[in-house]
């Protein structure tokens, strides 16, 4: 694989897919990568399908188009599989990561014959066990880091802890919950 | 605030609106601007703003400014916004210690630039609470462009866009009550006045407006001999008639409290105001008697409404 990794996120307005893309850019930046994180903009409101993008590279990124042939796709809400062509252009050397409680075998028929790797994680389950609330972007972020290999999981955890420590300086319990969610997601994604 | 009214001392103050401007002979707008500016205490500094209109094109025709103070005009509909920028710059520069002097901010607009096209900009400036005075010299039509109706034009006035004709009696609508709209902004000072007697009312209201912290609005009836079609020297009688008929009530609203500044002892019939102006000539045809009766009813209604507000 070249030094450039392109990731496309599919989510619904309000679920945090855009935030997750920006967080991924953040954490990749923190280990010295060149990054891009941007959503596709429109007038969509809560619940509407939205797309966000990441480019992560060892060299400067100049291209400013959307991503049409991503290395990886992240689906934050499995209900999107019915209405959105999430595997469009997805490289078969790459893979798709889906937030679902279903097994890979159950999911694959919904992927329009996509031949590449399929990864799943039950983000709801991870969230409930660790945060007590459903914030799918947290486990999805950890899962895509592992799946895409853009950075080592332990480096990722270290950087996230540093960043969350700063963000939740006054709420150590939130920091703890988030870190647990990230750790569990790294284990659970398969 | 200096509440004494020393007429002679005030007349002796240097004019802040200098002669040599190109306003029409007998212009009421100029009388308004000149007397408002006299209320700035000697020694205080000011920046004068202006909406595009007669006053602007006549008082600052390059390279001749009629203003002793600094002056700014940018466009027709934005005098409120422009001055809010100046006032904010003053606060910024003062905060940074770049100026020590005290400035007052006064902006003039005709009724076109104030009641109509500039209303949004004025409303914004008042609502934001800039420490400035907005003065409308209300001559009741777009005089600069040739006497087109405005929302300040009196009912039945013959203007170039509401001509009195075979089947028309001039402007169908009554005037917009801008002072009430400004009062609804809950600004500390709103007043309405015109040229009466020794101008004490205009002076004291201007002084209050200028020296009350926060936004203030003055509405000054400023007759236009050309648009209203009267002989220039009749301006004094016309202003008097406007007030005595209660067509143009003199009142002020201080911190939300309404009060009438002058109550006529014997309220005169509206004809007294209408009759000397060519723009109302058609109302005096025998068949139009009912129009004057309607006019009287509307003036009465509004006057009673004002009195009720002042109780």
């Amino acid at each position: 694989m070249s030094s450039l990794t392109e990731i496309r996120w599919h989510g619904r307005g309000g679920q945090g897919a855009k935030t997750a893309a920006l967080l991924l850019a953040d954490v990749a930046f923190s280990i010295g990568k060149y990054v891009q994180g941007f959503p596709e903009y429109g007038p969509e409101r809560m619940g509407a399908p939205i797309t966000a993008f990441n480019r992560i590279s060892d060299t400067q990124i100049r291209v400013h188009s959307n991503i049409y042939d991503p290395d990886f796709v992240v689906v934050v809400d499995e209900t999107l599989l019915h209405g959105v062509d999430v595997t469009n252009g997805l490289k078969k050397e790459g893979g798709i990561l889906i937030n679902t409680a279903l097994s890979k075998e159950e999911i694959r028929p919904l992927l329009k014959g996509y031949e590449g790797a399929v990864y799943t994680i039950d983000a709801h389950d991870v969230c409930m066990k660790t945060l007590g609330k459903y914030f799918p972007n947290t486990p999805m972020l950890a899962a895509i880091v592992k799946v895409s290999g853009v950075m080592e999981p332990d480096v990722f955890l270290r950087e996230m802890e540093a960043s969350l420590k700063h963000k939740f300086a006054k709420k150590p319990e939130v920091l703890q919950g988030n870190m647990k969610a990230l750790e569990l997601a790294l284990q659970e994604v398969c | 605030m200096d509440n004494t009214f020393n007429f002679k001392e005030i007349q002796e103050r240097e004019d802040r609106l200098a002669p040599g401007h190109r306003m029409c002979a007998g212009c009421g707008g100029t009388i308004a601007a000149r007397n408002v500016l006299k209320a700035i205490h000697p020694g205080d500094r000011a920046v004068i703003g202006n909406a595009t209109g007669c006053l602007e094109v006549s008082t600052f025709m390059y390279p001749y400014t009629a203003y002793e103070d600094s002056y700014i005009h940018t466009a027709f509909e934005n005098a409120g916004a422009t001055m809010s920028g100046v006032e904010t710059a003053y606060n910024a520069l003062k905060k940074k210690g770049k100026i020590d002097e005290t400035y007052k901010f006064i902006t003039f607009g005709g009724d076109g630039g104030t009641y109509d096209i500039g209303l949004q900009s004025l409303s914004g400036a008042m609502e934001r609470g800039h420490d400035m005075v907005y003065v409308c010299y209300d001559n009741g039509a777009y005089m600069n462009t040739g006497i087109q109706r405005s929302s300040a034009t009196p009912m039945y006035a013959d203007t170039t866009t509401t001509p009195a004709g075979k089947v028309s009696n001039g402007k169908p609508q009554y005037r917009k009550d801008l002072a009430a709209i400004m009062a609804a902004h809950n600004i500390p000072y709103v007043a309405q006045t015109t040229f009466i007697g020794n101008m004490k009312d205009l002076y004291t209201k201007s002084e209050k407006a200028i020296y009350t912290p926060g936004p203030a609005f003055l509405n000054i009836m400023a007759p236009c001999p050309r648009g209203w079609r009267y002989n220039a020297p009749d301006i004094i009688d016309i202003c008097k008639a406007a007030v005595e008929t209660c067509y143009w009530p003199m009142f002020e609203i201080v911190e939300g409290k309404w009060s009438i500044s002058y109550e006529p002892k014997n309220k005169l019939p509206i004809e007294e105001f209408l009759k000397s102006q060519g723009r109302f000539k058609h109302l005096f045809k025998p068949e139009n008697e009912h129009l004057i009766a309607e006019y009287q009813a509307e003036v009465d209604r509004r006057w009673e409404e004002l009195r009720a507000r002042c109780e």
């Binding site: - | 002669p19 040599g20 002979a25 103070d69």
Partner: protein, 100 residues
């Protein structure tokens, strides 16, 4: 750019006009003769004038100078001859004569 307004006229080169047509002097209109517009001229009868100064605030052209509590002669360099001062005077001290 150091031209004064008195040195600016409609023949001035573009290089010598003020940037943005600003003016950096106060009340330069005083140098402009609006008295030339006048077709009728106010005449003050000092005998009748009681120095009440009521005419002063009504003058649209700031053409009635006041000094030491007393009004002076009309500033005919600027008076446009509107005649409002005639109406303002309670003592009949001002009359209009035809012409300048």
């Amino acid at each position: 750019m150091s031209l004064k307004v008195k040195d600016i006229n409609e023949q001035t080169r573009w290089q010598d006009l003020h940037m943005g047509l600003h003016v950096y002097e106060p009340a330069t209109s005083k140098t402009f003769d609006t008295g030339e517009w006048r077709t009728n001229t106010p005449v003050l009868d000092m005998e009748k004038c009681r120095q009440c100064l009521l005419c002063v605030p009504y003058c649209p052209d700031s053409s009635i100078p006041v000094k030491d509590g007393k009004r002076g002669e009309f500033d005919l360099g600027h008076c446009k001859g509107c005649g409002i001062c005639v109406s303002a005077c309670p003592f009949g001290a001002i009359t209009m004569k035809e012409g300048k």
